[in-house]
C-alpha cells in the first residue's frame, strides 16, 4: 500500500513538473513567452526527441516558435512551422485541437500572401510576387482546404498586378513598354476569366491596348522610314481595335466614367472614325467648355487651352464668330513669340 502511495506521489510530481514547465515543452513555452525564441527553439527541438513528441501541443508550440523566429532563413522556419502544425494535427487523433491548429496554419499561410503583396506593391518585384502568390494558393489547398475558392483573392491580386505592370510600363524605356503591357493584359485576363464584367480589369486592359496604339504613333524616331510608318499605323489600328471591346464593357458597367469616355474617344479618333469620335468628343466638350473658358480668363496665354476652345467652336459646338475670335487671339499670341 505504501509502495502504491509512493508511486502515485511520484506520478503526481512528474505531472506537476510537466504542467509547470519543467518539461522541454514547458521550458520552450517559458522561453517563448519571454520572447527568447532562440532558446525556445533549442528547447522545443529537444522536446521532440523525447516522449513529448507524442503530444500534439508540443508540435503546435514548435510551429508557433518557428513561426516567430525572425533570424536566419525565415522561409525555412515558416516551412518547419507549417510541418509542425500539420504533424500536430495528424497525431491529434481525437481532433481536440483541429480547429485551433487549422487556425495556426491559416495564420501562417497568410504570410505567403502578405509577402506576395509586399513584393508587388513595395518592392515592385513582380516575378517573385507571383511565385509567392502561387505558393500561398498551393499550400492553402494542400494543407488546409483542397476546395478553397480563391476567386475573390485572384481578382484582387491579379487586378493589382495588372495595374502595377501598367504603371511600370509608363516609366520604362520605350522598347520595354509593350512587354509590360502584355503582362498587364494577361494578368487582367485571369480576372476576366472569373468575372468578365470586372470594371477594373476591363479598364486596365483597354487602357493597355489604347496606350500601345498611341505609342506606335507617338514614340517612333522622327526620322522614321515610310515602310515603318505604314507598319506602325497598321499596328496602332490593331491596338485601338483591341481596346474598344474592353472599354465598351466599362462603359456598360459605369456609363459616366470619364476616363473610359476619353479612352474610347482616343481610340475612335485614332481609327479615323469621325462619327463615333465626335459623339464622345461632343459629350466631353459640353462638360469641358465652361472650364476652358474659365481657364482662359485666368490663363489667357495658355495656347493649348485656346486651341481647345477653337476646336470646340469649330467642330463640336459650332459658333463661327467665337471660333474666329479665339483663332485671332491664338494667332496674335503666336505672332508675339
Amino acid at each position: 500500500m505504501i509502495r502504491l502511495k509512493n508511486i502515485l506521489t511520484l506520478l503526481v510530481i512528474c505531472l506537476g513538473t510537466m504542467a509547470y514547465g519543467q518539461s522541454w515543452t514547458g521550458q520552450a513555452y517559458q522561453f517563448y513567452r519571454a520572447n527568447d525564441f532562440e532558446s525556445a527553439q533549442v528547447a522545443i527541438d529537444s522536446a521532440i526527441t523525447t516522449i513529448e513528441r507524442h503530444d500534439p501541443q508540443t508540435w503546435q508550440l514548435r510551429g508557433i516558435i518557428y513561426r516567430s523566429i525572425t533570424a536566419g532563413d525565415s522561409l525555412c522556419n515558416r516551412q518547419i512551422a507549417l510541418e509542425s502544425f500539420v504533424y500536430a494535427r495528424e497525431i491529434d487523433k481525437e481532433g481536440v485541437y483541429t480547429d485551433k491548429i487549422n487556425q495556426y496554419i491559416s495564420n501562417t499561410l497568410i504570410r505567403y500572401y502578405n509577402n506576395a503583396v509586399q513584393l508587388l506593391v513595395e518592392d515592385k518585384n513582380f516575378d517573385r510576387s507571383i511565385e509567392f502568390y502561387e505558393l500561398y494558393k498551393e499550400k492553402y489547398t494542400s494543407l488546409l482546404d483542397p476546395a478553397h475558392d480563391f476567386d475573390q483573392r485572384d481578382i484582387e491580386y491579379y487586378t493589382a498586378l495588372g495595374a502595377e505592370y501598367q504603371n511600370k510600363s509608363e516609366i520604362v524605356p520605350q522598347a520595354d513598354k509593350n512587354d509590360l503591357r502584355i503582362k498587364s493584359i494577361n494578368a487582367c485576363q485571369k480576372v476576366l476569366a472569373i468575372d468578365s464584367m470586372d470594371f477594373q480589369a476591363n479598364f486596365n486592359s483597354g487602357i493597355a491596348y489604347y496606350n500601345m496604339g498611341v505609342d506606335y504613333i507617338v514614340a517612333p524616331d522622327p526620322e522614321i522610314s515610310i515602310e515603318e510608318l505604314v507598319l506602325n499605323t497598321k499596328r496602332a489600328e490593331e491596338a485601338f481595335l483591341k481596346a474598344i471591346p474592353y472599354l465598351k464593357r466599362c462603359e456598360l458597367i459605369q456609363p459616366d466614367h470619364m476616363d473610359t469616355k476619353v479612352a474610347l474617344m482616343g481610340c475612335y479618333y485614332g481609327l479615323n472614325n469621325d462619327e463615333k469620335y465626335l459623339k464622345y468628343q461632343t459629350d466631353l466638350d459640353k462638360i469641358n467648355l465652361p472650364k476652358y473658358l474659365k481657364r482662359y480668363e485666368t490663363h489667357p496665354t495658355d495656347e493649348d487651352n485656346i486651341k481647345e476652345i477653337v476646336r470646340i467652336y469649330t467642330y463640336t459646338m459650332p459658333n463661327e464668330n467665337e471660333a474666329e475670335k479665339y483663332r485671332n487671339i491664338l494667332y496674335d499670341l503666336r505672332m508675339k513669340e
Binding site: 508587388l120 495595374a163 479598364f203 496606350n211 522614321i224 515610310i226 510608318l229 479615323n272
Partner: protein, 169 residues
C-alpha cells in the same frame, strides 16, 4: 494580419492628337522620297502649313523636325494664316482642309517654285495636289498624283508610289 491590395487602376495617356502626328511623320517621309530640281537643293528646306486646321500638324512638325536636315538642307517649319503669307520658297506646302478650295489657285502659283502640294481633302488630286491624305478603312493613308508632281518638276520615288493607296499616273 492580411495586407490589403488597393485596386490600383492604370493611367490613361492623355488624349493624343494621333492624326496630326501621323500626318507630320508622313510629310517628313515625303521630303525624303521626292526629288527637287538641283536649284532647290540648297538653302533651307521649308515645310509650310497653310490654314488654322493644320496648326496641330504644324506644331508636330515643329517639335519633331525643326533644326533637323533633309540631306544638307536644314528643315524650317512655317505656318501661314493667309494666302499672302505663304512663303513661295516652300518645298512642301500642307494645305489644311478648310483651305482646300484654294488648291486650284495654289497649284498654279506654286508650280514654278517646285512646291510639293499636300492636301487632306477628298478630290484634291483632281484640283492640283501632288499628294493627298485619305482614310482607308481605319487608317490614315495617302494618294499620289504623279502628273501633278511632274508639272511641279518633282520626281516622286517608286517607294512613295508603291506604298500609296492610289496613284494617278
Amino acid at each position: 494580419m492580411t495586407f490589403s491590395l488597393t485596386r490600383l487602376s492604370a493611367e490613361t495617356n492623355q488624349m493624343k492628337d494621333t492624326r496630326s502626328m501621323v500626318k507630320a511623320l508622313y510629310i517628313y517621309t515625303f521630303a525624303t522620297l521626292v526629288e527637287w530640281p538641283p536649284d532647290r537643293r540648297s538653302g533651307d528646306f521649308i515645310i509650310g502649313v497653310y490654314g488654322f486646321g493644320g496648326l496641330d500638324v504644324y506644331d508636330e512638325l515643329k517639335s519633331r523636325y525643326s533644326e533637323k536636315y533633309i540631306g544638307s538642307q536644314e528643315i524650317v517649319i512655317q505656318n501661314f494664316r493667309n494666302k499672302n503669307d505663304i512663303n513661295p520658297k516652300s518645298h512642301i506646302l500642307f494645305v489644311a482642309s478648310e483651305k482646300s478650295k484654294e488648291i486650284v489657285v495654289l497649284s498654279k502659283s506654286m508650280q514654278q517654285n517646285n512646291t510639293l502640294l499636300v492636301a487632306e481633302s477628298e478630290g484634291s488630286l483632281k484640283t492640283g495636289a501632288c499628294v493627298n491624305f485619305i482614310v482607308v478603312g481605319n487608317q490614315q493613308k495617302y494618294e499620289v498624283n504623279k502628273r501633278n508632281a511632274n508639272k511641279h518638276n518633282l520626281v516622286i520615288s517608286s517607294k512613295l508610289t508603291d506604298l500609296a493607296a492610289k496613284v494617278v499616273q
